[in-house]
Amino acid sequence: MRRTSVKGLSKTAGIVIAVIIIIIIVAIGAYYAAQKPAPATTTTSPSPTTSSPSPSPTTTSSPTTTSSPSPTTSSPSPTTTAPGKKTLVIYASLSEMTSADPSTEFSNSILWMPLVYEPLLWYDPLQDKFIPGLAVSWESSNNGTVWTFHLRKNAVFHDGTPVTAEAVKESIERTIALGQGAAFIWDPVDHIEVVDNYTIKFYLKYPAALDKIAASSYGAWIFSPKVVEYAGAKNLTDPKVADWFNAGHDAGSGPYKLVKWDPENEVILEKNPDWWGWKEPNYPLASPNAPDVFVVKIVKDSVTQERLVLSGDIHIAEYVPLEDVDNLKHNPKVQVVIKPSFQNLLMLINTKKPPLDNVLVRRAIAHAIPYEDIVKIARNGLAQVASGPIPHGMWGHFDNLTYEYNLTLAKQLLAQAGFPNGINRTLLLTYTAGDIYEKRTAEVIKASLAKIGINVEIRPMSWEEQWSLAKSGWENPEAAQDLFIFYWWPTYITPFDFLYNMFSSESKLFNLCYYENPQFDKLIEKAVTLEATDRAKALRLYYQAQKILYDDVPAIPLWDMLDVRVAVKSIGNLDKAINPAYPTVIFAQVLEVKG
């Protein structure tokens, strides 16, 4: 009898537990249904920044965490913080920061580096014009092979030493000597000459647009040569200098100073009151009400970022779920800023593997993809249908290079190629695992190509894995994937960056279509040398090159991304603080912090 009662108890307990679980689930479901800004737990979510083709592994990134004495200032109080009524802006980043060395950094740390360091020039790609940085004026001569920059005389590094031509020379020479990260942008430079304290001359091996190179978002930062002393190193290329940077020190001249470096959690920047830009009347990259403290906080999930910005715990979110953007636009608490980005998604085709070696088959595929639908489904409309490999808004982009979605034409082309009933082999399409935009794009492509009799297997892989598989295709195209969905964005803003890396026969790392066309190679090599001297002619050549790609279809550009940033209402000028040439950067010195 005793046994029965024990048994009865466990039975009741079982029922009670089951009922409780079901109630909890229903309650959560009802809560989500009733309330839009829902509380959310953390998990992985897509981060276009981390799954990038930018070869960040080339940096010596060993992000050393510093034993920084400054306390965590992640106080939730919006815009103001305790000590001395300083204004504070917290910007959430989806990805961890990488290194802090301005010469070699080629990855996520670009997010804060432009606030601490300055280049000679800034570039505004949407208006195709330059904004003076450390240089006030510049000119080129001798067919674009000699460039002279005149530096501003009132710029001072954070350590108090003035920014001189010698410092510029040594900074750039260190970047070139280390040869890591984006050092290749300086390839055209033969030697650098200091004319006087505030004049510097670059002698190039061949004509190149050095103004754009000097405005690069990677590898063009100027720093104080005194770092050698601080680091106790022999010279600038001594690894001790990199260690000194990566311990959380800065040697820049920009509007903010690095005060806390904890790359996995947060980076804190403090206003540099001595910056020349605050005093310069009408300087476009400065605002009188810029925040005193700018915090980059790592929040690795877009759902969480949205929740934090709605509650005011952070002020600017780098990524929110795109599905929620329509609702956020109507939310009185926040503002939504949408800007073009120079990141685009392309589908590279293995042009060496039958039947894709047949240009008719490739054209058939290009006409069987519903580009508009992909943008709506994958990005919730927050992208532009690509027209050629150069993204919208960039110099070198043309609007008439989109393939028409036309299934009849696609079927005709396929029949002409000798496949009237479709292809009898399943094509393998790979994309970066965890990236939902790529995943949805892949699923739409699979569904669409099925309509013309092409079966596709989609396979998510880690970036490294699929990249090495694709690179192996140069040796053995049969073993590589057939289709490869892949993001690109430029190191510095030139069409050459896109066209060379992805389609030149010399580029073995990223030309993963294995496309070889000497005529195309010649065109772009010519165009890039003309960029400095005859921009109209360069543009014509770039158009011809893109037209060749349009006809040969080594890759199908799918969409150009639009960047969405969501911020609390009390932050002004957010639109001006975003520049597609410097992805993920918020130029805090431009922000207006109210109240």
């Binding site: 046994r3 029965t4 048994k7 039975k11 079982g14 029922i15 089951a18 679980i21 689930i25 479901g29 989500y32 249904a33 839009k36 800004p37 829902a38 959310a40 998990t43 992985t44 979510s45 897509p46 877009s302 759902v303 949205e306 779920p321 795109l322 599905e323 929620d324 609702n327 639908d373 709506k376 489904i377 695992a433 965890g434 939902i436 995943k439 949805r440 892949a442 699923e443 739409v444 699979k446 569904a447 099925a450 297997e457 989609i458 396979r459 998510p460 892989m461 880690s462």
Partner: protein, 293 residues
């Protein structure tokens, strides 16, 4: 298992409504899993071969009881077809683990000595890893996909069966009838598989039934973490992940597959409880002699 065992199990289940619920859930799961491709209202949606631009993020309705997802596909169809994949995974993982685990345990137990020790130490090595972690590492190495998921899970699973069989065989092999068989010259393999194995199988069978639910849960976990099956396969764990980014506007995408996982695993566990109770000798005696509880 001998028919008597099954009778005992049924008797137990009948007396306990919770176990009964477990049986009903598992039976329903099996039926849905087997018939899935024929009973989905929108078969193409279920397989993920299409998308419907005008039907994205529809909330639950009569046409779409579980709503639609970001591609406009009917979630009800996808969840139903997901049962088929969960069934394949459950049977595949446990089956493969049994195929690997039983012979090793049997040989180690029967032969003993150095071979036995070596085999069991290898087994212990596998047991030393946290099972889900091992499965994640394996799945990440051998790549994604249904077969790879099953292999990865089975490899982290078999040592448990080896241990169980090993213990059983060790006690059975000293019984007189085994000695007798050996003396009359029966081949060792025949002794192992024909004379020992059938008698050692009962606890393993119970354990296998118990593990079906865990296999489904772990496979869902792998897919959720992005190392399991590949899209657009409507595996439940994967469906939960897919709904994650749109949870603020379309809670139903993640909720229903999540509920399906919960209910199925609950069902298996409740049923397994009944099976385990049937193995309890005291309870058995009470039941067999027909006394009421």
């Amino acid at each position: 298992m001998i028919p008597e065992d099954i009778r005992v199990i049924f008797k137990l289940i009948k007396t306990n409504p919770v176990s009964m619920a477990g049986l009903v859930i598992v039976a329903a799961f099996l039926v849905v899993g087997l018939l899935a491709p024929f009973i989905t209202p929108y078969p193409q949606d279920a397989w993920g071969d299409v998308y419907h631009l005008d039907q994205r993020y529809q909330p639950p309705s009569w046409a779409h009881p579980f709503g639609t997802d970001e591609m406009g596909r009917d979630m009800f169809s996808r969840v139903i077809l997901g049962a088929r994949f969960s069934l394949i995974i459950a049977v595949g993982v446990v089956g493969l683990a049994l195929i690997i685990g039983i012979p090793i345990g049997l040989i180690a137990g029967y032969l003993g000595g150095k071979i036995g020790t070596t085999l069991m130490r290898i087994t212990d090595m596998f047991l030393a890893f946290p099972p889900l972690l091992l499965a994640i590492a394996l799945a990440a190495t051998i790549g994604r996909g249904l077969t790879n998921t099953i292999i990865a899970l089975a490899i982290s699973w078999w040592p448990w069966y080896t241990r169980l069989i090993y213990v059983q065989v060790n006690s059975i092999k000293t019984l007189p009838y085994v000695d007798a068989a050996r003396i009359v010259g029966v081949h060792p393999l025949a002794i192992m598989f024909r004379h020992i194995l059938p008698n050692a199988l009962t606890p393993v069978t119970v354990q296998a039934a118990l593990d079906m639910g865990s296999a489904i849960l772990e496979a869902a976990g792998l897919s959720f973490l992005g190392v399991g099956v590949t899209p657009p396969t409507p595996e439940w764990g994967l469906l939960v992940t897919e709904g994650w980014s749109s949870i603020n506007i379309a809670w139903w995408i993640s909720l229903f597959p999540g509920l399906a996982i919960l209910i199925t695993v609950l069902g298996f566990n409740l049923l397994a409880d009944a099976v385990r109770e049937a193995g309890d000798p005291r309870l058995r005696r009470i039941l067999i002699v027909g006394r009421k509880l």
